[in-house]
């Protein structure tokens, strides 16, 4: 294989990221298609997908809730935050609800430690949370959804 060709393979992660940005997750069909494009065995692409936590294999909810479990958030109570959301929405870490509205995921660090504990919903960060604030934020999303539907 030529050097140029090898260098191209460096773009595998980038292509997977683009796919996920477009579809929200990486489907089996996408893996097969990308493997063909890169002239790689399917298993190798699957291996890369499963290695990196960024890649999702199931469709996420319309609103993706990320609970920061960085050190600062953890010692201030991110476990409680996660539990409160589970109690409210009935979904656990890594799950999407039946309507496909909310998905929940704990992440390593959102990098806003001074606002701990924080969550982000579709990229918008909410900080200095307590139970009341948190439930209100989720309720607002539900309300917004009900109004729009």
């Amino acid at each position: 294989m030529s050097k140029e060709k090898v260098m191209e393979k460096s773009n595998l992660i980038k292509v997977l990221q683009t796919e996920q940005k477009k579809e929200g997750f990486i489907s089996d069909a996408a893996i097969e298609r990308i493997a063909e494009e890169f002239d790689l065995p399917v298993v190798e692409v699957e291996g890369v997908v499963s290695f990196y936590t960024q890649f999702k294999r199931v469709p996420p909810g319309k609103y993706q809730i990320m609970v920061c479990d960085g050190t600062a958030c953890h010692i201030i109570g991110s476990t409680l935050i996660l539990n409160w959301i589970t109690d409210d929405l009935g979904i656990k870490d890594g799950e999407t609800d039946e309507e496909g509205l909310f998905s929940l995921e704990s992440v390593a660090c959102l990098g806003c430690c001074s606002l701990a504990p924080v969550i982000s919903i579709n990229g918008k960060v909410y900080g200095k949370l307590d139970r009341k604030k948190l439930l209100k934020i989720i309720a607002d999303y539900k309300k917004k959804e009900a109004a729009g539907a």
């Binding site: 992660i13 990221q17 990196y52 600062a72 010692i75 109570g77 959102l110 806003c112 430690c113 009341k132």
Partner: protein, 573 residues
């Protein structure tokens, strides 16, 4: 007269609501220039707005997106002005972050107005080995954690003969609780790039990568804008040849901070590390000689070349020169990003700069999942590479979490181990299985089922994982446990011998108790309990209770508390 209004729009500012402030400001001050800048490091006071006037600059803190408040700010109202506390000003030494939050990150002109790219200009007129010498003179050590001398690393790459050489900026800041690199890239992308271009001249590398974690979209955006700007101006031309510089986004794997794993990831593969040697300077990206430096290391370089290595070495200690950025968070008053001279004591950072109450702190955690906990009675230790290592911690990349008296050290250690267990790539048996066994043991202890043998097992297994692992992840994973075992052994023993967690944090060792004498029977706790375990006469059924703290949070008279299991008095607070 107001010349310009600057809104701090780094990630932390945006999270605190700076976006809304910016929009409203643009609306009500249409005749003024409103710009977005980076972060000045005082996260606790976000959102921050700075007003430049003829008679000086004024900073306003905790600015709310309300028209009335913003009007006051435009009138330079004295009451809401921000003044960083004096102790912090005294103790900080800003060598590399002096421009952060002061200039528009994506303005090349503004960076140039503040000596930007002067270092590069000087470097282009120097011989490669002269630059390497200058960096050696500065005694700059790698800021990613390991502390390897940067000049020496560059000299290895410079000495290589190859059709292609590669210089990589490690911006995969994966430590939970660390955000130094993010701030540098968001607020000063040009400074990082200038450092890399100087490195390219010094080492002969003509292909440059910035491997940035994907969770930092603003950093990626600002870096890409900056790269476009320098390419347009031809600042990337070295010895008549354009240098290729590219941002590559990581995909979320902590182990990719390790250099051989990072290279695999750059090549589009699974990010597993490999045995060294060969070192990347011999065999790196696609086999080409490659050198990898951390973001903060590169950010130091323009100063070193511009002002001289000797001048740089004036700050800090004999073997640890310059400054270090720390992301200060946890149980303290002033969280944020601080830049301190090497050699400053931990206590000065925690108490003087961070404003933590003396007596309220039991330890600091330095270096994230690879680092260790240092107890308060060692706070006079100077912050330099060697002193920290001798205490069982590491400099790490710069996360510094203050741990208050009411936190459980066993739980803290468990948390870090859970992180490394999850992030272990699985290549080495000791790291893959050993960390899992350690985690299970810790879970037994925090779950109230541990024994004294478990405590001994932890230290034995920890030391074996260090010896049996290939890369930095495994070799440092046991540090949080070993350091807490060393300094907080009594807490481990209290858990296993008495079933007692003094911090009231470990769920299995606490009950929730309502003090009938304080209770006003308002019903809030009953209403908010997700598992309906509080009876009408305000008694908690601890068999059903999940210790979620909902009732404690809503109680208006603080009548509810966690108490030691089987006990009857409130111990917390």
């Amino acid at each position: 007269m107001i010349k310009r209004i600057k809104v701090g729009m780094a990630s932390c500012g945006i999270a605190a609501g700076a976006g809304e402030v910016l929009e409203l400001l643009k609306e009500i001050a249409q005749d003024k220039e409103v710009v977005e800048v980076g972060c000045i490091g005082h996260c606790y006071a976000e959102p921050l707005v700075e007003v430049e006037t003829d008679s000086g600059n004024y900073i306003f803190e905790k600015v709310q997106p309300k028209e009335k408040d913003l009007q006051k700010l435009l009138e330079l109202d004295e009451f809401t002005r921000f003044q960083p506390h004096n102790l912090r000003i005294d103790k900080e030494r800003l060598l590399i972050t002096s421009l952060a939050g002061k200039i528009v990150p994506t303005s090349l002109d503004e960076y140039k107005d503040h000596k930007g790219y002067e270092g590069l200009k000087k470097a282009l007129e120097m011989k490669p080995d002269e630059i390497v010498e200058e960096v050696k003179t500065s005694k700059l050590r790698g800021r990613g954690g390991g502390g390897f001398p940067a000049g020496l690393k560059w000299s290895f790459l410079a000495a290589k003969e190859s059709e292609q050489k590669v210089l990589i900026c490690n911006a995969d800041e994966g430590d939970p609780g660390a955000f130094m690199d993010r701030t540098l890239m968001e607020s000063l992308p040009h400074q990082v790039i200038e450092g890399m271009l100087i490195g390219a001249k010094a080492t002969g590398a003509r292909k440059l990568f910035i491997y940035c974690r994907a969770e930092y979209p603003l950093a990626v955006k600002n870096l890409n804008i900056a790269i476009e700007q320098i390419e347009k101006e031809g600042l990337n031309i070295i010895d008549g040849e354009p240098v290729d510089i590219m941002v590559k986004e990581g995909a979320g794997a902590f182990v990719c901070g390790e250099e051989t794993a990072l290279i695999h990831s750059l090549e589009g593969k699974r990010g597993t590390p490999r045995y060294r040697p060969p070192y990347p300077t011999d065999y790196g990206f696609h086999g080409y000689p490659s050198a990898i430096n951390n973001v903060e290391t590169f950010a130091n370089v323009p100063f070193i070349v511009r002002e001289g290595g000797a001048k740089f070495a004036e700050t800090g200690t004999e073997n640890s020169t310059g400054t270090k950025l720390f992301a200060l968070a946890g149980d303290l008053k002033y969280s944020g990003l601080v830049e301190v001279p090497m050699g400053i004591s931990i206590g000065e950072v925690v108490y003087d700069i961070g404003g933590a109450e003396p007596g309220s702190v039991k330890a600091v955690q330095i270096g994230g999942p690879s680092g260790g906990c240092i107890p308060a009675d060692h706070f006079d230790t100077p912050i330099d590479y060697d002193s920290l290592t001798s205490l069982g911690a590491i400099m790490g990349s710069g996360g510094l979490i203050v741990i208050g008296n009411d936190r459980c050290m066993v739980e803290t250690a468990r948390y870090f181990l859970e992180f490394t267990t999850r992030e272990s790539c699985g290549k080495c048996t000791f790291c893959r299985i050993g960390t899992k066994r350690m985690l299970e043991t810790l879970e037994r202890i925090t779950g109230g089922e541990g024994s004294t043998e478990d405590v001994e097992l932890l230290s034995d297994l920890g030391n074996k994982i260090i010896r049996g692992s290939l890369c930095g992840l495994g070799q440092t994973a046991p540090n949080p446990v070993l350091s807490t075992l060393k300094y907080f052994n009594n807490e481990y023993l209290a858990h296993v011998e008495e079933g007692f967690c003094s911090a009231m944090e470990c769920k299995a060792l606490v009950d929730v108790f309502i003090d009938q004498e304080t209770c006003i029977e308002c019903g809030q706790c009953i209403k908010n309990c997700p598992v309906d375990c509080i009876s009408e006469d305000y008694v908690v059924d601890n068999e059903v209770c999940t210790r979620c703290n909902s009732c404690i949070e809503v109680c208006p008279v603080d009548a509810i508390a966690r108490i030691a299991k089987g006990g009857e008095v409130s111990v917390r607070n």
